[in-house]
Amino acid sequence: MTNWPILSLMVFIPLFGAFIISLIDGEEKNIVKNSKMVTLWTSMVVFILSIFLWATFPTDPGFHFIEEVNIFSSVGISYRLGVDGISMLFVVLSAFLVPICILSSWKSIKIRVKEYMILFLILESLMIGTFSALDLLLFYIFFEALLIPMFFIIGIWGGPRKVYAAFKFFLYTLAGSVLFLLAIILMAYHSGTFDIRELLSHNFSYQLQLILWPALFISFAVKTPMWPFHTWLPDAHVEAPTAGSVILAGVLLKVGGYGFIRFSIPMLPNASEYFSGFVFVLGVIAVIYASLVALMQTDMKKLIAYSSVAHMGYVIIGLFTFQQEGIDGAIIQMLSHGVVSAALFLCIGVLYDRQHSRLISDYGGVVEKMPKFSLIFMIFLLASIGLPGTSGFVGEVLVLIAAYKVNGYLALFTGLGMILGAAYMLWLYKRVIFGKVTNDKVTLLKDLDYREVCIFIPLIIGVFWIGLYPESFSIEFRDDVASLISNLDLVISINNN
């Protein structure tokens, strides 16, 4: 343990970096160059700090690295930061993906580079803040503020329908958050505090839980996204620049799942149990529906976007099984999805940078010109399918096992996603990578350069690390999940008696 405020540093260093960039002035060429370098180094410093956070993280359950500054002590609002094993890993994931995003937009962003970099650093600060906030109101502020930089990133650097996509994204998530705000006020009113640690041990009455739960659920379900709140995701992904998609899929979708683990399940256990059947139905629909829709997509980014919906369906099913295996599996699945979907979007970004098309039909026979790229794409695709040994499998099998404990049919329907997932992914791969070259432009493609290989290597390491030795991740959150489950069982059994 250290005494210096590592979490605050991680939240404020990117803001400071953004401030520095805003001061940069001079020739256009220098502005671009300097702002890129500042952003990269700032995000690297944050990443190193996050590694430090992970390395010194104690294994006993509960929150660590707590920082507290009273703001409005009369109403119990404070600046509180702290992480437990679950949120710590998400902080690391966020800090890990941002430098990769910066590197990936090194050449593909050509206009307003300075503003783009500033927005990315703000985004990073907000993401880390969301995962480390220990105050309900603070969490809300970070959670909602995340929308703003993302809105601009899609709206300014996006594709042809960027305005439609940006507004759709904004409206959907805002609709959810209004209810969330009301729920927060109600929760604070009844418990008298905004401190998440105290809220976790507060018992809300059953009636109140039944009111609060749907409000929280809609907010998180939009973020996750769960069927039928998912339609913003494909549009947002398609229009967003590559790095925007990476952050969207890699981190922002996890905020929903994180919300369920942090708030819905432990704070409203009885309601969560009451609604679990409903959640399973939505989860199974998400898995099968999204997989089938993904099968028919003609746009690669949309396909990956729908596959994200399906994978997040697994996460939600795992969380609501209330089994150690299920929640462990869901967390691993989220981490894995954070790496894998980010990588898949980067892969598509690589193709887009060269050809300026995301349509599957514009490709075919790419392997002849880009063998390295094809190998890397294959690795991530297999991880997405959940091949044992890659990161996707660990989460998937744990969720399936937990689902089986709840209900055999649940496992069966969830498992169907395994087959469909393989179908749409392999079909995509076949149409893009294999086959004869039909489009003349494909013959002009160049394989990955040094910078791009550097982007992918850490992601590949991540995929195999989670897949072959998930222990180094699960050891951090195992006890937190165990205590969460034992509390849950206790509360539910008291209530049933």
């Binding site: 959907y172 039928p228 829709v293 089994q323 040994g389 744990l398 399936l400 089986y404 179908a423 392999l426």
Partner: protein, 639 residues
Amino acid sequence: MLKLLVFLPLLGALLSGIFPKFIGKKGAMYIPTILCGISFIFSIILLHNAILGESYVINLATWINSGYFQINWALKLDMLSSVMLFVVMLVSTLVHLYSIGYMDRDPHQARFFSYLSLFTFAMLMLVTSNNFIQLFFGWEGVGLCSYLLIGFWFKKQSANAAAIKAFLVNRVGDLGLILGICLIYFKFNSLDYNTVFESVTLIKDNSFSLLNIEIPIIELCCFLLFIGAMGKSAQIILHTWLADAMEGPTPVSALIHAATMVTAGVFLVARCSPIFEYAPYALGFVTIVGALTSIFAAYVAITQNDIKKIIAYSTCSQLGYMFFACGVSAYSAGMFHLMTHAFFKALLFLGAGSVIHALSDEQDIRKMGGLYKALPYTCVGMWIGSLALAGLPPFAGFFSKDIILEAAWASHTIIGGFAFYIGLLAALLTAFYSWKILFMVFHGKSRGDISSAHESPLTILIPLTILSIGAIFSGWLGKPMIDTHHDFWHGTILILDNHEALKNAHHAPIWVKISPIIVALIGIFIAWVLYIKRLNFTQFLCERFSFLYRCSLNKLWFDEVYEYLICQPLKKCGDILWKKGDIGVIDRFGPDGIVNVCRKIAMRIKSIQTGYVYHYAFAMFIGLIAIFSWQFLLLFGWV
């Protein structure tokens, strides 16, 4: 040594996969081959040790650990795994060697050898696993390599389609397997073989009810596991991928789709014999599926014209034999046939590959004929392989097929009897199509241009020779496997005392013992009549029994039915859900709908904002009047 054995092929795969430039073109071929050779030598030593009674487990590391779900990376050596290790490493090494000659004209050798070695590694992980999850790791790993190797010639549309089909059909089976594993975990709270097998008796009476029928848990368990085995071993219903898989290079067909991967299903059933033994209905199901596959595949094989497809269907049919052996509790007979089959089927495939190589990738047997002069060694090899496949003494297939049929007969159950007669009929067809190949390829008149045909290089002939020796002697050498007086398997295969098929098999009447030989000879005779003696008679038969002929030629329309009933509807479904569901309903009534409603309301309100002062003055006036009237009404107490 076990560790080295398992990881050397992985090393080979990584070297030639990631650093092909560094080790050069020759290196990319020879290094994996040499590493496999070393592994093979180790596997002989380990087999020797295991026969002497050695068995141990090496724990490597933790893999997944969550609640009771504790899975380790571990390597297990016992009799069952050492036999598999031997078979896998032998065939794999020979196929590596063979590929050096076979792939000499291909520009992507490094990639090919990398996949081959990776496959070998996955297969080794499968057979040496100590728990079900690691088994699943190997299981999917071999599936992946099979996918990669079938689609190796990625420019061919048909190869890509076949690769995806193989992966997906296998995935259907894998879903069954993983659900079976989930159920085992749910019941035993463990997935270690030892723990599970020891506590089977505790839950053998547990059952659950489905539609008012009481189903024992253990039956469901075995049933689900067997679905996995059906997928991997191409049993009927899930068999469609195997014939298409012949799109891959021939050495791949020999290694993956004949000798090793497809037999993983049989291995699974044998490995899980302690569970299957308590599930009589599931065993019955295994027997029926095995018997039906053996006859169905043999029936389809007789009318095919692609040399590799005939052998592929033959593999399918032989796997059916292994399964019905397992189904009547003669697991060791199944394993025995697995071993001998690996020899002679790999031999047949490699022989066929030699023919194809010599004829510059011609696979249609109608365009061959009279090749025995040009390819004498290959011809001898194919003859030996066919004799072994048909089960004629003293070749390997005779011992193993005989014991399977005897065991089926000796199980004294209706299903066993059914399997016996079906098996006999399939044996007839087997002999028939084997000699159809021999006669049409090597004998008679040549029907195509074979002038450029030449005998293959030494790297192809050496594996053929070794496999020929195996196909001759392995049956005789492997006889202790089925000896019931001496426990060859050291307890790795459990057979309950009341399942005596294997014991009784040795006391089967003489007609049961010799009938397989007789039917095989009949099959050969028919083939001789039809393909050497009277060619026009074949034409007549095809027309006379045109329905049966077309059924066989079109493989009973399994592919078409699946395409029509499963693939098309799913695609249509996806399209409808996307265009009607997402865009038509959710977006239309969700975000877009709300936006539209807001816009309409805003338009209405906007039209009130005219900007003329007198309009606003008028509105204010009306408002004032309304307020005043309300006040008056209150004042006078009229409300």
